[in-house]
């Protein structure tokens, strides 16, 4: 009785197993299959007559079966866990794993093949996820590799473990030279060693650190960087690793320095005239008397303040793109003559000379703005030829444009300073050292004014012989209503 029950149970297990069971002849003809297998391939038990296993496979599977699987089975008697796709009527092929065992008859000839068929849908989707995860990881790695920032990983004590190409570009060290060294040795922090310890403590407490520091590059150059350090805790909450991102902030730092310099320069330039004005006013108030010299200084210094404020306003107009011209018929020769007269009145050391046509040279230009350019160029010529000499204002008609140049006999401008001369806040090292007043705005404003006219301005200079500043103004500007 027990044997019978056992047989029945085996039959039930066979039919209701969570995997497919399949028996075939050596040529693949299906002899028997359990319910799940039949359900997978969408066949009734009666449809099986003469059906071969390989006919249930996709074409690549069928080829693989005939060329690899069946010969291997004949050779070694078994094949373990090989992936196939089962064709199913009206549905997607089903991925399966098949394990087969050959049974021989008494004469030792292959008689039957028993196979276990496992549904590999889950496994296939795991494989796909794994592949996607790997692609994502590779993308992330590529981002790290190709980033222009230095992206580094560190042991909890700051020892460098990875060093990306961005770090090499930023600081010049190769990865081999850096891995194993401490990041702290590269960074100069505002607080010194105490800062190192404070950073380590913050990271150990699980908080990120953002700071600015100076890093020393391979060639000894100092690089301003922003550094972000992020702690990565281990399973017990301990500090397991640190990631660091260093970014070059040299440009921003240079801009900050330039702004600071500018502010201190503006302050200096505004306070000096104020000191003279207030000083003379207080002296006259206290003495109750009129000082000719005092009044004169108050007037010239308040004009100087007015010019400075005007220049600052012009610069902000230029920056905002709101420099508008009032074009009217203007005689360049008359403007040049009057500018030369004004300059003559301001200097005893220089001989200011005009060279140009005897008659007017007319164009539609902004008279006040051109006057401003003349004044700037002539003031520079006087300021930067302190030992005197000739200053020549030359006006020429070149056919389609008018040219004006102002030449001095000063010490000249070093060639390396020429390209930056018309930039904002630019002053040559010589100009700074000479202590000559100025914000470095005159040429910048002049260039903006000439370019607004559709013209151009440039400088030529020979050291020891003097400088010539020239601007060219077109008579008509294309596309502009007259």
């Amino acid at each position: 009785v027990e044997d019978e029950l056992l047989q029945g149970s085996l039959a039930a297990l066979y039919e209701r197993a969570p995997c497919g069971y399949l028996f075939t002849r050596p040529d693949g003809t299906i002899v028997r299959a359990n319910a799940l297998f039949l359900q997978w391939v969408g066949l009734a038990r009666d449809d099986l007559g003469g059906c071969r296993f390989q006919d249930l496979l996709t074409l690549p599977g069928k080829l693989f079966y005939e060329n690899q699987y069946a010969p291997l089975l004949r050779l070694q008697g078994f094949v373990n866990a090989v992936a196939f796709d089962l064709v199913r009527a009206g549905r997607e092929p089903l991925p399966v794993l098949i394990t087969s065992i050959r049974q021989d008859d008494d004469a030792g000839q292959p008689a039957l093949v028993a196979s276990i068929v496992l549904d590999a849908t889950d496994r296939r989707s795991y494989e796909r996820e794994l592949l996607l995860a790997r692609q994502r990881a590779e993308q992330l790695a590529a981002i790290v590799t190709e980033s222009s920032d230095a992206i580094l990983s560190l042991a909890p004590d700051g020892t460098l473990q990875t060093w990306n190409a961005g770090a090499t570009r930023l600081l010049g060290y190769a990865a081999e030279a850096m891995v194993g060294r401490k990041l702290w040795d590269l960074l100069e922090l505002p607080g010194g060693d105490a800062a190192d310890e404070a950073i380590e403590a913050t990271l150990r407490a699980g908080r990120a650190v953002q700071m600015e520091a100076v890093a020393t590059g391979a060639d000894g150059r100092r690089v301003d960087v922003s550094a972000g350090l992020t702690p990565h805790p281990g399973p017990l909450g301990e500090l397991a690793a640190i990631s660091a991102i260093l970014r070059d902030i040299g440009e921003r730092k240079a801009l900050e320095r330039q702004q600071r310099d500018f502010l201190s320069m503006v302050t200096h330039e505004l306070r000096n005239p104020l000191a003279s004005i207030r000083g003379y006013a207080q002296i006259m108030q206290r003495r109750g008397e009129y000082l000719e010299r005092g009044i004169e200084v108050i007037l010239t210094q308040s004009r100087r303040l007015e010019r400075l404020i005007g220049d600052l306003l012009d610069v902000s107009r230029v920056e905002a793109g709101q420099l508008h011209l009032r074009r009217e018929e203007t005689d360049l020769v008359a403007l040049a003559l009057s500018a030369a007269d004004q300059a003559r009145a301001l200097t005893r050391a220089h001989a200011v000379r005009f060279e140009g046509p005897g008659g007017p040279l007319l164009g539609r230009w902004d008279r006040d703005r051109l006057e401003q350019v003349f004044q700037n160029l002539l003031a520079n010529a006087m300021k930067y030829s302190p030992d005197g000499g000739a200053i020549v204002v030359r006006v020429e008609n070149q056919g389609c444009e008018a040219r004006v140049s102002v030449t001095d006999q000063g010490p000249g401008i070093p060639p390396e300073a020429l390209p930056a001369l018309f930039g904002r806040f630019f002053r040559t090292a010589e100009a700074r050292a000479s202590g000559a007043e100025g914000l470095g705005l005159g040429l910048y404003i002049s260039r903006s004014l000439i370019e607004a006219h559709g013209g151009r301005i440039w400088a030529d200079s020979t050291l020891g012989q003097g400088s010539t500043f020239t601007f060219a103004l077109p008579y008509t500007v294309l596309g502009e209503a007259s």
Partner: protein
């Protein structure tokens, strides 16, 4: 060199240095009524030369000047060689925090009040 350093009847000497002529003139007009002799300088080199020649009790110097700046003038006057009793006061438009340490006895901000300059001069000249 005609100045006699410690003559009993010597008029106190003040050296005033600034590259702004008008500022130097204003300081001269403020200080002369105090009964001092004002020696004018227009850059740091002239200020140092004037200090060597005239042995002043007080040097009022601007900071930003061509050739030698006021900070350097102060350091050289305070280096312990020669006239080390001289008081040096910086007159500057720069904020205090931008000035490096140089041993100056006081700092006057530009634009200054005449009363502040007089008070400072009296303090260092003992008048």
């Amino acid at each position: 060199v005609t100045a006699v350093p410690f003559a009993a009847d010597a008029t106190p000497v003040v050296v005033v240095a600034d590259d702004e002529i008008h500022v130097v003139d204003v300081l001269g007009l403020l200080l002369e009524p105090l009964g001092v002799r004002v020696v004018k300088a227009y850059n740091g080199e002239q200020a140092l030369a004037a200090a060597r020649e005239h042995r002043p009790q007080l040097v009022l110097t601007n900071v930003r000047m061509p050739k030698v700046g006021g900070i350097e003038v102060c350091r050289r006057l305070k280096d312990g060689q020669g006239n080390d009793s001289v008081a040096v006061v910086l007159i500057t438009s720069l904020p205090h925090e931008d000035l490096p340490a140089c041993g100056a006895d006081d700092i006057i901000q530009k634009p200054f009040d005449s009363a502040r300059v007089e008070e400072c001069a009296r303090r260092f000249l003992g008048r």
